[in-house]
Symmetry: C2
Subunit: 114 residues, 2 copies
Protein backbone atom coordinates (compact mmCIF):
# COMPACT_ATOMS: atom_id res chain seq x y z
CA UNK A 1 0.00 0.00 0.00
CA UNK A 2 2.77 2.40 0.98
CA UNK A 3 4.57 1.81 -2.31
CA UNK A 4 1.37 2.25 -4.28
CA UNK A 5 0.60 5.58 -2.60
CA UNK A 6 4.13 6.75 -3.35
CA UNK A 7 3.62 5.88 -7.00
CA UNK A 8 0.39 7.86 -7.22
CA UNK A 9 1.90 10.79 -5.33
CA UNK A 10 4.83 10.77 -7.74
CA UNK A 11 2.36 10.95 -10.62
CA UNK A 12 0.22 13.72 -9.18
CA UNK A 13 2.54 16.56 -10.12
CA UNK A 14 2.47 18.14 -13.57
CA UNK A 15 6.22 18.62 -13.86
CA UNK A 16 6.93 15.01 -12.90
CA UNK A 17 4.49 13.73 -15.51
CA UNK A 18 6.16 16.00 -18.06
CA UNK A 19 9.56 14.56 -17.12
CA UNK A 20 8.30 10.98 -17.56
CA UNK A 21 6.91 11.80 -20.99
CA UNK A 22 10.14 13.55 -22.07
CA UNK A 23 12.13 10.51 -21.07
CA UNK A 24 10.05 8.32 -23.39
CA UNK A 25 11.83 10.21 -26.18
CA UNK A 26 15.41 10.11 -24.95
CA UNK A 27 17.82 10.19 -22.02
CA UNK A 28 18.23 13.66 -20.56
CA UNK A 29 20.46 15.31 -18.00
CA UNK A 30 19.20 17.63 -15.26
CA UNK A 31 20.08 20.86 -17.05
CA UNK A 32 18.26 19.76 -20.21
CA UNK A 33 15.14 18.97 -18.21
CA UNK A 34 15.47 22.26 -16.40
CA UNK A 35 15.66 24.13 -19.70
CA UNK A 36 12.46 22.49 -20.93
CA UNK A 37 10.45 22.82 -17.72
CA UNK A 38 11.63 26.33 -16.92
CA UNK A 39 12.05 25.80 -13.18
CA UNK A 40 15.21 25.86 -11.05
CA UNK A 41 17.74 23.05 -11.10
CA UNK A 42 17.25 22.27 -7.44
CA UNK A 43 13.54 21.73 -7.97
CA UNK A 44 14.19 19.50 -10.98
CA UNK A 45 16.63 17.46 -8.91
CA UNK A 46 14.00 17.01 -6.21
CA UNK A 47 11.43 15.80 -8.75
CA UNK A 48 13.95 13.37 -10.21
CA UNK A 49 14.72 11.93 -6.79
CA UNK A 50 11.01 11.33 -6.21
CA UNK A 51 10.64 9.57 -9.56
CA UNK A 52 13.78 7.54 -8.91
CA UNK A 53 12.58 6.59 -5.44
CA UNK A 54 9.56 4.79 -6.91
CA UNK A 55 11.72 3.32 -9.65
CA UNK A 56 10.10 5.13 -12.53
CA UNK A 57 13.53 6.25 -13.72
CA UNK A 58 17.21 5.32 -13.54
CA UNK A 59 20.23 7.57 -13.25
CA UNK A 60 23.57 6.93 -14.87
CA UNK A 61 26.77 8.96 -14.49
CA UNK A 62 28.27 10.34 -17.69
CA UNK A 63 31.28 12.45 -16.86
CA UNK A 64 30.05 15.42 -14.91
CA UNK A 65 26.52 14.85 -16.08
CA UNK A 66 23.88 12.49 -14.78
CA UNK A 67 21.69 11.01 -17.46
CA UNK A 68 18.17 10.07 -16.51
CA UNK A 69 16.20 7.43 -18.37
CA UNK A 70 12.99 5.49 -17.97
CA UNK A 71 13.24 2.27 -16.01
CA UNK A 72 11.87 -0.24 -18.50
CA UNK A 73 12.87 -3.27 -16.45
CA UNK A 74 10.49 -2.82 -13.55
CA UNK A 75 8.36 -5.77 -12.51
CA UNK A 76 5.82 -3.53 -10.82
CA UNK A 77 2.48 -3.97 -12.55
CA UNK A 78 1.25 -0.48 -11.71
CA UNK A 79 4.42 1.18 -12.93
CA UNK A 80 4.33 -0.77 -16.18
CA UNK A 81 0.65 -0.22 -16.89
CA UNK A 82 0.92 3.48 -16.20
CA UNK A 83 3.89 3.89 -18.50
CA UNK A 84 1.87 2.18 -21.22
CA UNK A 85 -1.12 4.42 -20.67
CA UNK A 86 0.53 7.81 -20.11
CA UNK A 87 1.80 8.44 -23.65
CA UNK A 88 -1.49 7.24 -25.09
CA UNK A 89 -3.46 9.49 -22.76
CA UNK A 90 -1.34 12.60 -23.25
CA UNK A 91 -0.63 12.21 -26.95
CA UNK A 92 -2.59 15.31 -27.85
CA UNK A 93 -1.77 17.47 -24.85
CA UNK A 94 -0.44 20.80 -26.10
CA UNK A 95 2.10 21.16 -23.31
CA UNK A 96 3.45 17.67 -23.87
CA UNK A 97 3.68 18.19 -27.62
CA UNK A 98 5.62 21.39 -26.99
CA UNK A 99 7.92 19.50 -24.60
CA UNK A 100 8.54 16.86 -27.25
CA UNK A 101 9.63 19.51 -29.76
CA UNK A 102 12.03 20.94 -27.23
CA UNK A 103 13.40 17.49 -26.43
CA UNK A 104 14.37 17.15 -30.08
CA UNK A 105 16.21 20.44 -30.21
CA UNK A 106 17.59 20.71 -26.70
CA UNK A 107 21.37 20.77 -26.77
CA UNK A 108 23.46 20.15 -23.70
CA UNK A 109 26.40 21.84 -25.39
CA UNK A 110 24.53 25.11 -25.73
CA UNK A 111 23.12 24.96 -22.22
CA UNK A 112 26.42 24.20 -20.57
CA UNK A 113 29.23 26.46 -21.74
CA UNK A 114 31.72 23.89 -22.88
Amino acid sequence: MKKLLKIFKALSDKNRVRILLMLTKKKLCVCEIQDILGITVSTVSKHLSILRDVEFINDEKDGKWVNYSLNTASKDIVLNQIMLILPFYLNDDELIKSDFEKVNTVCRKNLCNI
Copy 2:
Protein backbone atom coordinates in the same frame (compact mmCIF):
# COMPACT_ATOMS: atom_id res chain seq x y z
CA MET B 1 -3.52 16.67 -18.30
CA LYS B 2 -5.58 18.43 -15.62
CA LYS B 3 -7.97 15.50 -15.43
CA LEU B 4 -5.11 13.03 -15.24
CA LEU B 5 -3.47 14.87 -12.37
CA LYS B 6 -6.80 14.96 -10.53
CA ILE B 7 -7.07 11.19 -10.94
CA PHE B 8 -3.62 10.58 -9.49
CA LYS B 9 -4.21 13.05 -6.67
CA ALA B 10 -7.44 11.25 -5.84
CA LEU B 11 -5.50 8.00 -5.67
CA SER B 12 -2.67 9.31 -3.54
CA ASP B 13 -4.55 9.13 -0.25
CA LYS B 14 -4.74 5.92 1.76
CA ASN B 15 -8.33 6.38 2.88
CA ARG B 16 -9.53 7.06 -0.65
CA VAL B 17 -7.84 3.92 -1.95
CA ARG B 18 -9.46 1.99 0.91
CA ILE B 19 -12.86 3.39 -0.08
CA LEU B 20 -12.39 2.34 -3.71
CA LEU B 21 -11.46 -1.18 -2.65
CA MET B 22 -14.42 -1.45 -0.27
CA LEU B 23 -16.76 -0.42 -3.06
CA THR B 24 -15.54 -3.31 -5.20
CA LYS B 25 -17.38 -5.49 -2.67
CA LYS B 26 -20.67 -3.64 -2.35
CA LYS B 27 -22.48 -0.31 -2.29
CA LEU B 28 -21.99 1.56 0.95
CA CYS B 29 -23.43 4.66 2.58
CA VAL B 30 -21.33 7.36 4.24
CA CYS B 31 -21.90 6.13 7.78
CA GLU B 32 -20.87 2.58 6.86
CA ILE B 33 -17.65 3.85 5.31
CA GLN B 34 -17.06 6.05 8.33
CA ASP B 35 -17.44 3.06 10.64
CA ILE B 36 -14.84 1.08 8.70
CA LEU B 37 -12.30 3.88 8.24
CA GLY B 38 -12.66 5.26 11.75
CA ILE B 39 -12.57 8.93 10.76
CA THR B 40 -15.27 11.60 11.03
CA VAL B 41 -18.26 11.70 8.72
CA SER B 42 -17.31 15.10 7.35
CA THR B 43 -13.91 13.84 6.30
CA VAL B 44 -15.44 10.78 4.64
CA SER B 45 -17.84 13.03 2.78
CA LYS B 46 -14.95 15.12 1.51
CA HIS B 47 -13.09 12.04 0.27
CA LEU B 48 -16.21 10.82 -1.49
CA SER B 49 -16.68 14.14 -3.25
CA ILE B 50 -13.09 13.97 -4.51
CA LEU B 51 -13.61 10.43 -5.83
CA ARG B 52 -16.91 11.44 -7.39
CA ASP B 53 -15.37 14.49 -9.01
CA VAL B 54 -13.01 12.30 -11.05
CA GLU B 55 -15.84 9.85 -11.76
CA PHE B 56 -14.39 6.94 -9.84
CA ILE B 57 -17.70 6.55 -8.03
CA ASN B 58 -21.41 7.31 -8.35
CA ASP B 59 -23.88 8.40 -5.72
CA GLU B 60 -27.48 7.36 -5.57
CA LYS B 61 -30.14 8.54 -3.13
CA ASP B 62 -31.86 5.83 -1.09
CA GLY B 63 -34.28 7.38 1.35
CA LYS B 64 -32.25 9.39 3.79
CA TRP B 65 -29.09 7.59 2.81
CA VAL B 66 -26.74 8.13 -0.10
CA ASN B 67 -25.33 4.95 -1.52
CA TYR B 68 -21.95 5.12 -3.13
CA SER B 69 -20.83 2.63 -5.77
CA LEU B 70 -18.00 2.21 -8.25
CA ASN B 71 -18.53 3.83 -11.63
CA THR B 72 -18.10 0.86 -13.93
CA ALA B 73 -19.27 2.72 -17.03
CA SER B 74 -16.41 5.15 -17.40
CA LYS B 75 -14.74 5.44 -20.77
CA ASP B 76 -11.58 6.88 -19.25
CA ILE B 77 -8.72 4.49 -19.97
CA VAL B 78 -6.73 5.47 -16.89
CA LEU B 79 -9.69 5.07 -14.59
CA ASN B 80 -10.52 1.66 -16.03
CA GLN B 81 -6.97 0.34 -16.00
CA ILE B 82 -6.43 1.46 -12.44
CA MET B 83 -9.60 -0.19 -11.22
CA LEU B 84 -8.40 -3.40 -12.84
CA ILE B 85 -4.99 -3.16 -11.23
CA LEU B 86 -5.88 -1.96 -7.73
CA PRO B 87 -7.56 -5.12 -6.40
CA PHE B 88 -4.84 -7.26 -7.93
CA TYR B 89 -2.14 -5.11 -6.38
CA LEU B 90 -3.68 -4.85 -2.93
CA ASN B 91 -5.05 -8.37 -2.65
CA ASP B 92 -2.72 -9.28 0.16
CA ASP B 93 -2.60 -5.97 1.99
CA GLU B 94 -3.48 -6.56 5.63
CA LEU B 95 -5.42 -3.33 6.02
CA ILE B 96 -7.47 -4.00 2.91
CA LYS B 97 -8.21 -7.57 3.98
CA SER B 98 -9.39 -6.24 7.33
CA ASP B 99 -11.58 -3.68 5.54
CA PHE B 100 -13.12 -6.45 3.43
CA GLU B 101 -14.10 -8.39 6.55
CA LYS B 102 -15.72 -5.32 8.00
CA VAL B 103 -17.57 -4.66 4.74
CA ASN B 104 -19.17 -8.08 5.07
CA THR B 105 -20.37 -7.51 8.61
CA VAL B 106 -21.08 -3.78 8.61
CA CYS B 107 -24.75 -3.15 9.30
CA ARG B 108 -26.40 0.16 8.58
CA LYS B 109 -29.21 -0.76 10.93
CA ASN B 110 -26.86 -1.02 13.89
CA LEU B 111 -24.94 2.11 12.99
CA CYS B 112 -28.00 4.25 12.51
CA ASN B 113 -30.48 3.93 15.35
CA ILE B 114 -33.56 2.95 13.42
